[in-house]
Structure formats: C-alpha cells, structure tokens
Amino acid sequence: MKNILKSTIAILSVLIAFTSCNNTSNSKSGALAGNVAEKVYVAPGEHDEFYAFISGGFSGQLSVYGLPSGRLFKVIPVFSQDAEKAYGYNEETKPMLNTSHGFVPWDDSHHPDISQTNGEIDGRWIFINGNNTPRIAKIDLSTFETTEIIEIPNSAGNHSSSFVTENSEYVVAGTRFSVPIPQRDMPIKDYKGNFKGSLSFISIDPEHGHMDIKFQLIMPGFDYDLSHPGRGKSHGWFFFTTYNTEEASTLMEVNASQNDKDFIAAVNWKKIEEYVNNGGGTKMPAKYAHNVYDEATHSATSTMKKEVLTVNPLDVPGAVYFLPTPKSPHGCDVDPTGEYIVGNGKLSANLTVHSFTKMLDAIENKKFAGDAYGIPILSFEDVLAGSVEQPGLGPLHTEFDGKGNAYTTFFISSEVVKWKLGTWEVVDRQPCYYSVGHLMIPGGNSQKPFGKYVVAMNKITKDRYLPTGPEVTQSAQLYDISGEKMELLLDFPTIGEPHYAAGCPADLIKPRSKKLFKLEDNKHPYAALSEADTKVVRDGKTVHVYMTTIRSHFAPDNIEGIKVGDKVYFHITNLEQDYDVPHGVSMIGANTSELLIMPGQTETFLWEPKQVGVWPFYCTDFCSALHQEMQGYVRVSPANSNTPLKWSLGEDIE
C-alpha cells in the first residue's frame, strides 16, 4: 500500500512538472511571436531593405540605421565634434563648425530630409538643421560625410527646417523664435510688433548641391514651428505651422496657448522667386558662415558672408496667406498628392486637415477673415477639408503611406493612430513606448512613400531595455504597416534624441556608396602621395610633417630635431587603396583627438610638444596583423638646442 501511494505521488508530480513546463513555454513563444521575429530578421551577411537616417537631436549628429533590422551602421558627425572621426578636431574639418559666433562645437540636430527629383527621393544628399545656432548641413550620401554647412542669419531656434522641395530647388529653414531683425539692444517686453520671424529659402545647386540663401521672407513675430513643401498640385507652395501668435515673450507655456487658433502660413515661393529674380527684395547687412568641404583637398573652408536678401511679404501681394489652425499646431504635413495639409494642433482634441484646392478657391474669392500685419487670414471653414474627431491626445506629426492612409503620433496618449484621408475615420491605433514624438515612413516627405514600415521615435524609454542608471537611451519602434492593422515588430535604441528621420530604399544609395578615395585624386596641399614624397619641413617654430601610412608602418617613423614650443602639424596620408583599411594615429600628449584616415585621404593634427624627451605615436585603428608594430618616435629637444631636423624609416638617424 505504501508503495502504491509512493508511486502515485511520483507519477502525479511528474505529470504536474510536465503540465507546468507546457504552460510556461506556451505563454512565452507563440507561433505569432516567431512570425514577428522573422519580419525583422536580416540573416548574417544579408542587407537591410531600407536606410533610415535618424537625427541625433542634442547629440548634434545623424545616425544611419537599417530597416527592418534596426541595426546601427554609422553615426555621421554633423554639428558636434566627434573625437572618434576627428571631425571638428582635425585641421581639415575645424572650419565646418565655424559660425558668426566663432567655433561652435555642438548643436541640436533635428529634421533630416533627403533630396528629391520629380517629387521622388533621389538619395543624393541629406539635409539637416542645427536648431540652436541656426545652420543647415548637407551630407553627401556617396561618402556619408558632412560636406557643407550654411549658417542662417536673422534666425533663432532653427526649427521649421530643413525640408526639401520636390525638385530640390530649395531647402527651407524657418525660425522658431522670433527676434529683432536686425539684432539690436531693446527691451524684451517690446516683443509684440517689433520682433520678426524669418523664413529662409536656400537654393540647392542641382549638380553639386551647394547651398546659397536665395531670400529670407521677414514674417510677423510668431514662432514658426514646422513646415513641409507642397507637392504635385501644390508644388510651388510651402506651409509653416505657427504658435505664439499671441506674441508673448514670457511664461510661454501659458501665454502662447491662449488663442483658440494659430496659423499655418502658406507661402507661394514660386511667386516670391519670380519677384526676387526680377530684382525684388532688400539687401540687408548680415554675418553668417558658409562652410564647404572639398572632397579633392579633403579640407573645408569657411567663408563669412556679409549680406542677405530679405523680402517683406506685403511687397509681394498674393504670396503669403494664413490658414487658421486650432491650438498651437506642431507638425505641418502634406500628403503625397499635395492636396491635404495636416495641422497637428498639439493642444486640440481634433486633428485639422486643410484642402489645397479649397485654399486656392478661398484666395480667388477673397474669403478672408481679417489680416495679421497685413497678411490675409483665410476663413477657417472655407479652407478646412475635414477633421479627424477625437483621434487621441496631443497630436504631433503625420506621415503617409501612399495608399490613402495617414499615421499620426499622439504624445500624450502615447500612440500611433492610422486614419483615412478623405473620410477622416480612424482605422487602427497602436501604443508607443512611450510618448512618441516623430514618426517616419521611408519616402514620407515625397510623392512616393514606401508604405511598408513606420518608425516611431519615442521621447521616454523608462523600462524598455536593461537599466543603465538614471540616463537611459531613447527608443524607436518599428511597425509593419503593410496590412490593414499595424503590427509592432521591434524596439531599438537610438542616438541622442531623435527628432524626425528620413528613409529610402537601400538600392537608391548602396550602389553609389564610395569604397575609398583615389590617391591620384588627392589634392590636399600637404599630401604625400608616396613614401618618396615624405618629409619634415621647418618654418620658424612651425614644423610640417608630411607622413604616410601603409600596412604596417608610418613613413617616416623616426623624427629628430623637434623642439619644445614648436607647433608640429602631422599631415598623414593613408596610401592604402583597399576598401575598409583606414589607419589611425595619435601622439602622446596631443591636445586633440586621434585621426582616422580613410584610404587615399590626408588629415592633419596639431601637436605642441611641451616636454623634452622621446615621445611615441602609434596607429589607433587595428589595421593589420602587424598593427601593434605600427608605431614611431619623435625626439623633442630643448627649445635652444641644435639637434638637426632629420627623419627616417628603416634605418637609424645618424
């Protein structure tokens, strides 16, 4: 009997064990979860379908991800110094960060936008705005390097930027903070009527992408928050959301939230362009830096510009109108057809959508509801296409899938809501983790979005990843939007604080991506294109070292005759001509970053030796099997010594 009892208990416990096993495994990995994993799985060695360029916000940079994997490929330094790549540290790229305020080593990078041809993303350049010290940068998508930065005068909080028109005629930058134009010493309380907001239209050279401020529209002193170009039928127009039409200058969270409606400013830039081309506008003294990086010299130059062309909107009748839009609208988004202009009224219960056709009709029939500083205000009812009723709380941004659907982020209710253009009905909603800001569908700002995925960029992360102390990474989420319902696929961490992103099919960029710089095209003034060209040249207290790297040595690697107090410029040319064989270099005690020199490139760092001795330098990038041996010495003698200037490789200095 005892035995029977024992065996019964044994059998029962085994059964319980099995049952509980089954329970746990069922709850963790269903067939559905496996399916989701497959959708974001990019097998080792395979490539992602899309590039996503996600802004770095307060990091000042632009990060490059693959979709759907969410893998980080590169962080492109744009507005902030990057010690890893020597950006803003080496002599070649320091001028990139020059401004009218001097060298500014940081900015707040916001809204990347890819160049377009005929309303479609062309993958040539990507533009991004620096918000704090107003600047627009251009990144060349064949090298993934920042090749141009233009400062925007008369602007402050360069936020309604940097959006590109459908043939890349202009990249547009609007001011968030209105300021005295020109800047002057005046009481802050006299803001109203005296401060102005500038909207800058920066022309893009069709061949090289060079930027030039064509004109600045000097608008009433509102806050110009975000913008987007018209496209298709509305090509030639640009739309800017505004808030603080109250023109308050203190306790803005209250005082700038009093008006029931603010405006979307509709700007007919074609009309203003014509006016300017016919000699219109006023040239105004200004001071702003234009920094251009030349791929042939591997060097940037900074030019200070002295003048900007301004346009008073009242001088070009019919060029600017205000569309009343409820409650401090944030995102200003235009659908792929160019008909609908979505004003994401961030304090509004409803989402307001204007009609371009109705806008033209209202203009033609003069359906005005007054004016603001002489600019006609169109009647709200006559431009309204419709409203999405009670879709969520705190709408910020809208993107489109090109199939008649719109996707709007709601910061307060922390969700993405899918709704239909035209019928304004809500189709689906998915939670975000947490408090989503921007969202991005590849090709979103174009006539041809690639409506397969949407990336939501969240402002709050909390518990989504392993904790890393009080400061945690920001987080993005990827949703599949190919079906009627959205499906959450993936969380992935992001750099800095993303404000918007731009994406496109990988095939647009991949075939044009450079593998190396050709040595024969290197026009750097201090390049040594072979070891025979290496030398050390003294010019007073300045010494120029023309040095080369190739696996696995520096030439020269012994230098004598340097003295305390010298300024020693190491100009290093990487003689490699093979993909992905950079060399790095740094010198003990150098008050700057390392260099990371791509094949065929020349870069320069400055070393100011302060102590007598023999000081080593070495390669900082594990370049080859003999990387550890890639090192050299510089002998530093007292300032008054007579040690002759000599250098060598492979033999002793006698």
Binding site: I550, R551, E576, Q577, D578, Y579, A625, L626
Partner: protein, 198 residues
Amino acid sequence: MKRSNIIMLIAALLPLGLFLFPLWRITLEAPQYPTPLAMNIHINDFSDVHPHDIKNINLMNHYVGMKYIPEAIPEFKIFPLGIIITTVIGLLIAFKGNYKWFLFWFILMVALSGAGLYDFYIWEHDYGHNLDPKAIMKFTNPDGSVMGFQPPLFGSKDILNFRAHSYPRLGALFLGLGIACSLMAFLIGKKNRNSNTS
C-alpha cells in the same frame, strides 16, 4: 584557296586575340576579401581585375617576404614578338604552303606555348620561393623546409588563408583554338591529298 588553307589562315590569325584578351588569371580568395583579389596576365602586361588589386596583392605578400609583382618583365617584349613572328609564318604558310607546313606550324606553336608555360612556371616558382630573408612571417612545411607561396600553374590551391586559383582566360582560348585549327588544317589537307591521289 583550298579549304585547308582557309582554316590555316584562321589558325594563324587566332593567336592575335592575345593582344585583345588576357592570357591567364590568378585569383586569391580569403575571408577578408569578399571581392577576391585577382590579377590578369596579358601577353604584354599584368593588370588589376578590380582597381588596385595588384597593389593589394603586393601588400599581402610582403608579410611573407614575397617580392612585388614587377611593373614589366622581359617576357612582355619577347612574347608579343613571338606571336607576331609565328602569325607571319602562319600567314605565309596559309597562302603558300601545303598541309605538311601546317603540321610544322602546329608543332612550332605547341613547342613555343610549352616553353611559355615553362617560363611562367619558373617565374611563379621564383616569385613563390625567392623570399626576403627578413620576411615578417616565416612559415615552414611539416618536413621543416621553408614554405613556398607559389600559386598553382593550373588549378586551385590553398596558400595559408588564401585559396589561389590559376586558370586560362579568353586570350589562351584564342591561342589554343589557333593551334587546334592548324592541326585540323593539316588533317583536312592530308585527307584531301590522299583522296586526290587515290
């Protein structure tokens, strides 16, 4: 013109393809080279298959003390001259000679090609074995002898982390076809001769 002479004429002209297309290719595959390094051997030149391949082959090879692939070798002068002379001889034979001369040209070409291959082998052997005594990395065979890095004359072979392939290219095909045509011209010429006499 007899059919066999026309074939001989083609035979004599075909080797000129060597001036248009590479003779041979050596390809080096390794994990770090998803696009392999490769060098084409022409009758008068070495050339990169992808930009900078030869420079990068030299960079790899210097670790084991192999010499740089020379810009030019004496063969680049001798081989083209040889091909021009044999083509002229072939043309003379095609216009003037009979089938016995076709055989002569065939044997001449086989002998010269064989000599060329042997010369190539000698160069390869020297290239793979005549190593810098100060080589960064020295490898020995299991029997204790110094390891050589000679690429195969024909076929594929593992050399350290590389897999080396050595195969003829279009130029060699032209040469081979030319030689084969001369043999065919001989056989046809001989057959015709026999059928005419019998």
